[in-house]
């Protein structure tokens, strides 16, 4: 499903070069639920961004679901991402002027894989699946953090992507809510979706299939 070959990423900063990833080799199988665990600044977000095509490697290649994504243009990447990757952020990142359902419909409008008429119904179904169907027509500002993250997960599933990536999805939630959110990801993986979660919290071990530890841009154990 995911294959990283000799991936390195170096950033030019005012303070000099900074190597975020150093010669990473990684294979992830379809339907696998992987946790990327590391401290803040260890390179786990960069690794996730490589897989999502949000960032490009300085060296090496990234192939996801058979596509060499490091070779795609920005626009092709965005379109590819819309169909193949669902992304969940730490701070939810719902668009503030769209309702919960509309936030879920947005990727469908971008990718146009789902017929226009079915989009609303599918969005409500997805909200139902993550347990916030009653909030469908509310604006994000009126939802709690946990509800917002559930909407964000529903949005990540909008186009039924084979791969879902989440960057610290529970970082901003209390422990009870965090556990519920992690269960949603487990459920997703059980249905065959490949899931990668970057986190610095240890309690993820309960739900994941495989833990990948990263430190200073190098994988410790896989």
């Amino acid at each position: 499903m995911i294959s990283l070959n000799h991936v390195s990423k170096t950033y030019e900063t005012p303070a000099g070069k900074f190597a975020a990833l150093k010669d990473i080799d990684l294979e992830i199988r379809t339907g696998e639920f992987v946790g990327i665990v590391g401290k803040s600044g260890s390179g786990k977000s960069t690794l996730l961004n490589m897989v999502a095509g949000i960032d490009r490697p300085s060296l090496g290649s990234v192939a996801v679901a058979g596509t060499e994504i490091h070779a795609l243009s920005e626009n092709k990447l965005a379109a590819w991402r819309g169909r193949n990757v669902g992304f969940v952020f730490q701070f939810f990142q719902l668009l503030p002027t769209l309702t919960a359902a509309e936030n879920v419909m947005l990727p469908m409008d971008f990718s146009k894989m789902i017929p226009l008429r079915e989009r609303r119904k599918r969005a409500v179904d997805l909200l139902n699946r993550v347990g916030v169907e009653r909030q469908a027509d509310k604006l994000p500002a009126t939802l709690s953090g946990g509800e917002q993250q559930r909407v964000a997960i529903a949005r990540a599933l909008a186009n039924e992507p084979p791969l879902v990536l989440a960057d610290e999805p529970t970082g901003n939630l209390d422990s009870v809510t965090a556990a519920a959110i992690l269960d949603l990801f487990r459920d997703m993986a059980n249905r065959g979706t490949t899931v990668m979660i970057a986190t610095h919290e240890a309690d993820i071990a309960r739900v994941i299939d495989r833990k990948i530890e990263i430190s200073d841009g190098t994988l410790l154990h896989s």
Binding site: I54, R83, Q93, L95, T97, L98, E102, L106, F110
Partner: protein
């Protein structure tokens, strides 16, 4: 409707106050443009249609005399559908005690059967009986007469004859009487005889049968007619072919209105700048949202479409507001122009192409303005966009300019803070300054052009040192007159002049014979020299005469017919006279005089009229009869009226541009406040009262206002000069004595401070209401 559109609309709704400001600013520009463009379409159409309705002559032939046989022979030509004889004769008219005015008399044989160049009867009698005269409706003001007034009329033969004004007509194809300062009168043949003229018609108006708008065809047919007339032993003095189907003023009106519409486009450009500011700020505040949308599969094009959609909305909303406003504006403008041009508008219908053009420009202008901010705003890579933490991180302090700003102020910390703050968003500041400074420039130009017009008039009237001029009924010896004047107290200087007409190549112009060492007329010689006491055959021509007769140049000799005499004159000088002067040549005086030029001690109207009465008595005692008089003040008044129009137009323009500038500043200030909410929360937390926050933002607005004033003040001189020169050369075909109005700088300084205080008042008030908690929580 997809979520993309919903987002576009709701984001705008969130910003509705700012959106409304921007829509208003664009609408101002489009309304001005639409009003002028519709006026252009309406006026040129109505002018030409009204003109065509009179069945204007295709060609006018000046013949020695016309009789019915000649007309019958001409009508044998199948190319000629109609031919009608007339006579045009110039003279003078006097109503009551006022001075003689120039008169153009049109003689028509049969008023019941005018087929070419028709007249439209308006009021009173139709047709004019013998001993009566109709007057063009626009000429009553010039004649200073009303219907049923008895007037005195004379032609070149000098015989004065009383006539009664029995009615008014509208002569559509005629130049405006008021502009030409000429009275148009309409009489029959018998009245012409009463005036002591031969009952002869000498002007032939012909109409071609086909291709009425083909000038070459008309020229051929007129040539054939000319040959025919000559073959029958007549003389053809001149053939005139007016531009077919076009009112004589239709082109000039069109040019003026198109020039005005470019002003509307200019305002539109300024409002486009406000769109740039708004969208740049919106894009900047949504960097992270843009990142999220791209992360979940939005391509740059899809994301950009959301913001272009917003620009589209701005344009559509502005067009919807503008079209009714533009129509109202065009009606007012058309009515005003119609009154000015002396014609009637039958239909105010605006052609579809105007609506379409206005809609296209109104909708595309904001889209074009949006292009750069949107394209740049959507370019941010996802990773960078996602890690954006809002805008308060603007890196002020990086450049030497910032550090220089940081040294300004010293103890006056509020002002120093305001100055530094206004420089934080340079591009936005620059664009805001541009719109505000444009308003200032227009305003200062308006004042400068007005001051220059007044200055030009002042100089023109200062050159004419005669406070009172009196025309005499006949030529008299100067000695008799001098005796009368020496008995009249209050005259500081008197000169006798002789005014008459001369012609060269059948074109007439005025001739003034005056003492070569005249003290009452300062020539503004641009080429050659003034008259001297030794001159006998020297003539100084004015710029109007030189302009009309290109072969009359300084150094040349011309043969002039004055009365019955033909004589050669050396052109020794070219004198400049301002504001569409009539063509005049000045020659040295010899012998008799027929006018008096007087410089007076007291020039108030009462003193002048007392002096005038006494002078009249003294002249009578010497057997000298005064015919008319005019004062400098009366002449000046008429000029001032015309100038007022230009001045009002310029001030109106600067009000509109200033308004757009104010809207732009308001948008800028509200954006500045929005982006600095967190900072204001910090200040409040540190103990700033709402009043201090409020003052700080108003001070920032005023700093921008004063900066814009400085830019406008620097550019005002060259811009006003160009604007003034081009306006005056279009309208009067003459130059302008430029002068700078320093008071304008002070006025605009106060206006721009007031404008910026008002524009920043609301944003400042809203900012000062934000609580510390709200401001710090704001993201």
């Amino acid at each position: 409707m997809t979520t993309l559109w919903r987002k576009a609309i709701r984001d705008f709704w969130l910003e509705r106050a700012r959106t409304a400001l921007v829509v208003l600013a664009i609408a101002l520009g489009i309304s001005a443009f639409a009003a002028v463009l519709s006026s252009y379409a309406i006026l040129t159409r109505e002018l030409d249609q009204g003109y065509l309705a009179t069945n204007p002559a295709s060609a006018v032939l000046r013949v020695d005399s016309i009789d019915n046989d000649l007309i019958k022979a001409i009508l044998q030509n199948p190319e000629v559908s109609d031919a009608e004889p007339r006579r045009t004769i110039s003279g003078q008219i006097k109503a009551g005690p006022v001075q003689w005015r120039n008169l153009m008399l049109f003689v028509v044989e049969d008023y019941g059967n005018i087929r070419v160049s028709k007249l439209v009867p308006e009021q009173g009698a139709w047709p004019p009986a013998t001993g009566e005269m109709l007057i063009e409706r626009d000429a009553f003001e010039v004649a200073k007469a009303n219907i049923r007034d008895a007037v005195t009329v004379k032609t070149a033969n000098g015989i004065e004859q009383p006539l009664v004004i029995s009615g008014s007509v509208h002569d559509v194809g005629q130049a405006q009487a008021r502009m030409e300062n000429m009275v148009y009168g309409y009489i029959n043949l018998a009245t012409l005889v009463q005036l002591g003229e031969q009952p002869r018609l000498d002007q032939l108006n012909i109409l071609v049968a086909q291709n009425r708008f083909d000038e070459d065809h008309i020229r051929r047919v007129a040539g054939d007619v000319e040959q025919l007339i000559k073959s029958r032993g007549h003389e053809v003095r001149r053939v005139e072919i007016p531009q077919p189907g076009k009112h004589p003023h239709s082109d000039l009106t069109g040019i003026l209105l198109l020039a005005m519409s470019s002003f509307g486009l200019f305002v539109l450009v300024l409002s486009g700048i406000i769109v740039i500011n708004l969208l740049t700020a919106m894009m900047a505040s949504q960097v992270r949202q843009i990142g999220v949308m791209k992360a979940i599969g939005g391509t740059r094009r899809q994301v950009a479409l959301i913001y272009f959609g917003q620009a589209l909305f701005l344009g559509i909303a502005a067009v919807i507001v503008s079209i009714p406003l533009g129509i109202l504006g065009s009606r007012a403008l058309c009515r005003y122009m119609a009154m000015f041009l002396n014609f009637d508008i039958n239909s105010f219908a605006v052609p579809v192409w105007v609506y379409l053009l206005v809609a296209v420009i109104g909708i595309f202008a904001p889209l074009i303005a949006a292009a750069y901010p949107v394209w740049r705003g959507t370019a941010t890579p996802v990773r960078v966009a996602l890690s954006d933490f809002g805008l308060s991180q603007a890196n002020f302090g990086a450049s030497a300019f910032d550090r220089a700003l940081a040294r300004i102020g010293g103890t006056a910390s509020l002002i120093a803070f305001a100055i530094r703050n206004s420089f934080r968003r340079r591009a936005r500041l620059l664009l805001t300054l541009l719109t505000l400074a444009a308003g200032g420039l227009f305003f200062l130009s308006a004042l400068n052009v007005r001051a220059s017009l007044v200055n030009t008039l002042d100089r023109m009237f200062a050159a004419r040192k005669s406070d009172l001029s009196v025309s005499l009924a006949n030529p008299y010896e100067l000695e008799k007159i001098q005796k009368a004047i020496s008995n009249t107290p209050g005259v500081t200087r008197a000169e006798g002049w002789f005014t008459t007409e001369a012609s060269v190549d059948d074109r007439r112009f005025g001739v003034v014979a005056l003492p070569p060492d005249t003290q009452l007329l300062d020539f503004d010689i641009v080429e050659g020299r003034k008259l001297t006491a030794q001159d006998t055959d020297a003539i100084v021509i004015n710029n109007a005469l030189a302009g009309r007769n290109p072969n009359m140049r300084v150094g040349e000799t011309v043969v002039l017919r004055i009365g019955a005499d033909e004589k050669a004159w050396r052109i020794v000088g070219l004198a400049r006279e301002s504001f569409a002067p009539s063509p005049v040549g000045y020659i040295p005086l010899r012998g008799m005089v027929n006018s008096l030029q007087l410089a007076l001690d007291n020039t108030d109207p009462d003193s002048i009229s007392t002096l005038k009465a006494e002078l009249d008595r003294n002249l009578e005692a010497q057997g000298v009869r005064a015919r008319r008089s005019s004062t400098k003040g009366e002449n000046r008044f008429a000029f001032d009226q015309h100038m007022l129009m230009i001045y009002v137009f310029l001030i109106l323009m600067s009000a509109i541009v200033g308004g757009v500038g104010g809207l732009g500043l308001m948008t800028t200030m509200s954006l500045n406040v929005l982006e600095r909410r967190r900072e204001m929360g910090v200040m409040r937390a540190l103990g700033a009262t709402p009043r201090i926050v409020w003052l700080m933002i108003v001070a920032e607005g005023i700093v921008i206002g004063v900066l814009s004033w400085a830019i406008a003040a620097l550019l005002a001189w060259p811009v006003s000069k160009v604007v003034g020169d081009s306006l005056v050369s279009i309208m009067f075909r003459s130059g302008l004595d430029f002068t700078f109005e320093p008071l304008g700088l002070l006025i605009w300084m106060l206006v721009s401070i007031a404008l910026s205080a008002v524009a920043s008042f609301l944003p400042a008030w809203r900012a000062s209401r934000v609580t510390v908690r709200e401001a710090l929580a704001y993201e």
